[in-house]
Subunit: 414 residues, 2 copies
């Protein structure tokens, strides 16, 4: 099956899917959730095939854990699909409607994007998550997962398609690229004829490759070199708790913190306090010269450390002389994801909110909150770090476009 | 001056411009309008240089007319800038604000995109239009006009920069690429380090080149292969007036109609009626076999005609058996711009609105209304024919992005 065929099938499927009622889409999502549960044993078998291959190929434990499915994880996939079914459907919403000078009634109606491509790595739960979100928003989807999860992903898509086969909608609404070669990935990134948008989900290398290769419009997601700036007017224990949370609660995710900026007036008091908080997690500290005066155990940070998303128990630390210097450092090195200031000072917090260039800017809270669930969207397809179309956590609404519908009674242009 | 330098200057300028008050931006826009008026004679002289070169290079009359400035056209440019000043500023608007489960206050604030590149062709008025719209929305702009209008564009930008030089904002907020070579255009299209978005304004060839070359995010604009479908339940005289308006009022623009689809039951009556309406404009008719039974003067249309944006007094005509067939034809050949159905039938009009895939879908009105002014936006930077970020006429709002601002009191993620 060539990608051109998959693309054409997806485009055709997208026309009927775009017109499907919310009730039908929700009923089918519930049936998909049930089918996944009912086939738990088969899914575990397919996943075992992937795990065996992975072990043979000497894949590391972190990767292996991402790849592994369990009864609980499969249950979470089904629950996720049911959760998407329970959300309000944005398709058909008219954001606003007005009469223009010519007495035309103009409405801005939410419509699906059309055909969405998703390129992702080793977690098989992305398959059902992405499929459910695209389906709910009336978009056909072409899924291209990593080769490590091939058997798991293929079976999951087959189960979803079986539900569609017995429905009025096309099984091509959800498709899977079974060729996991790099050539096929490149072809997908350039399938302009059929793809309306491509969303990569994965590590920095995947995102970089997609941005360099794709000619299809891309929504850039995920890379997060996030900072916590502890101002001179910070409550130090609150600041410590936030830094420990942002660094250690789940260091492998994009909204965890990578660099700590500390105002010089509080450095002597705060640095030992935060170091003590981080110690139980064995966090490696990489500080500038000044930091090492207060924390001799810190390794000397180099230029590269300021620009690195460690995704690990490593924290870069820099002393700054002012909020302005903190803002300048952040705008120079960040990936426009999530940034936080800890301060009791009104003017410094306002300045930070105004001047820091990022998808999410926090005052007195952990950067870990940047996701669709924590924001209350009920779902998430990823976190956009670009400025076009969507910025920050993307829920159902961000998977839609608009169409102007215009009602006239014979108007012509003068 | 290299593009990297222009880009870096623009990025730096964009930081202060993004924080400028609406009052300051409006005062400077009013001063720019005044400066343009005051320098009318100089602008006419520079334009004369362009016109002389153009005549020497044997440029055709249509191009020459686009290039030509007059006192009235320069006045229109100033009026345009004042009009932009009078519009509401979207920057700083908070679209919505809510408390999440953790009691974080989350707001979605409108912010500028950052640095916008505009690549355009021979009309010098695009220079002041685009500069004013980007400036009002807090975006730095890099303008790259066609070589035909070089002297006019360069002087216009110099006049705008002189106003900025005497202000608290940077003159680099509005910059001009003075090297009009193709290599520089390509460099601009790949200036990912500094450009947040690139908007091409011009003909189909320019758009095609930009889409094929750019690695920067692009907003595709303008190409319009628009259709009018006259249903069997149409009021024929209204239909005639709309077809004549959509084809002839200004055939060179993207929202003019290129193909007429006519339901077979009314073809015998409607085709002679519409042909009589088009006759005073000497419209060349290109019909399918069936059309030529009723209009023997029509040339036989070929496959290519259905997909062509003529931008001229040429109309392709096809007879269809149903609204479904009309929709299928449109979705096969259109450029997703503007489409119209003329009908008194409730169900056919609803079906057309739902199923036609385009930025603007009309019932009983001319496609010529698709623009920011007719829609009531008060301004327009172009008409997007893509589905990401913006679709249809783009006003000030479409030149913005968003930033989540989050107020906490020590929240950490559990």
């Amino acid at each position: 099956m060539t990608l051109l065929t998959l693309g054409k099938q997806a485009k055709i499927a997208s026309y009927s899917l775009s017109q499907a009622s919310t009730r039908l889409k929700n009923e089918l999502l519930m049936a998909m959730a049930e089918a996944i549960e009912a086939k738990t044993d088969l899914i575990l078998q397919a996943n075992q095939q992937d795990l065996t291959h992975a072990v043979d190929n000497g894949i590391d434990d972190t990767m292996l854990d991402r790849l592994r499915l369990t009864v609980e994880r499969i249950q979470a996939m089904s629950d996720g699909i049911r959760q998407v079914a329970s959300l309000a459907d944005p398709i058909g919403e008219v954001d606003k409607m007005w009469k223009n000078e010519d007495n035309l009634t103009i409405g801005k109606r939410r419509v699906p994007l059309g055909v969405i491509g998703i390129i992702y790595e080793s977690r098989p739960n992305v398959t059902t998550d992405a499929a459910a979100l695209c389906f709910k928003t009336g978009n056909a989807v072409i899924l291209r997962g990593g080769k490590e999860a091939f058997y798991s992903n293929q079976l999951l898509v087959t189960i979803l398609q079986e539900v569609l086969t017995e429905s009025p909608l096309s099984a091509h609404s959800i498709q899977f690229v079974s060729d996991t070669s790099r050539e096929t990935a490149r072809e997908l990134m350039q399938l302009n004829q059929y793809l309306d948008v491509l969303i990569p989900r994965g590590g920095a290398n995947l995102i970089k490759t997609v941005l360099a290769t794709a000619t299809v419009p891309v929504i850039e997601t995920g890379t997060g070199n996030c900072h916590i700036y502890v101002d001179k007017a910070a409550q130090l224990e609150m600041a410590r708790d936030i830094v420990v949370n942002a660094k250690c609660q789940r260091p492998s995710v994009c909204n965890s913190a990578e660099t700590l900026l500390v105002h010089e007036t509080i450095a002597a008091e705060f640095l030992p306090l935060v170091a003590a908080g981080l110690a139980p997690f064995n966090v490696e500290l990489r500080g500038d010269e000044q930091t090492r005066r207060y924390l001799p155990e810190a390794i000397l940070a180099n230029e590269e450390d300021w620009g690195t998303e460690f995704l690990d128990f490593i924290l870069a630390i820099k002393i700054v002389g002012s909020t302005d210097e903190a803002i300048l450092h952040i705008n120079t090195y960040n990936t426009k994801h999530s940034e936080a200031i800890i301060s009791d000072n009104y003017f410094d917090t306002q300045k930070f909110l105004d001047h820091v260039d990022a998808a999410a800017v926090y005052v007195n809270a952990s950067t870990r909150f940047t996701d669709g669930f924590a924001f209350g969207f009920g779902a998430e397809i990823g976190i956009s770090t670009q400025k076009l179309h969507a910025r920050g956590p993307m829920g159902l609404h961000e998977l839609t476009s608009t169409k102007y519908i215009i009602y006239g009674d014979g108007q012509i242009r003068r």
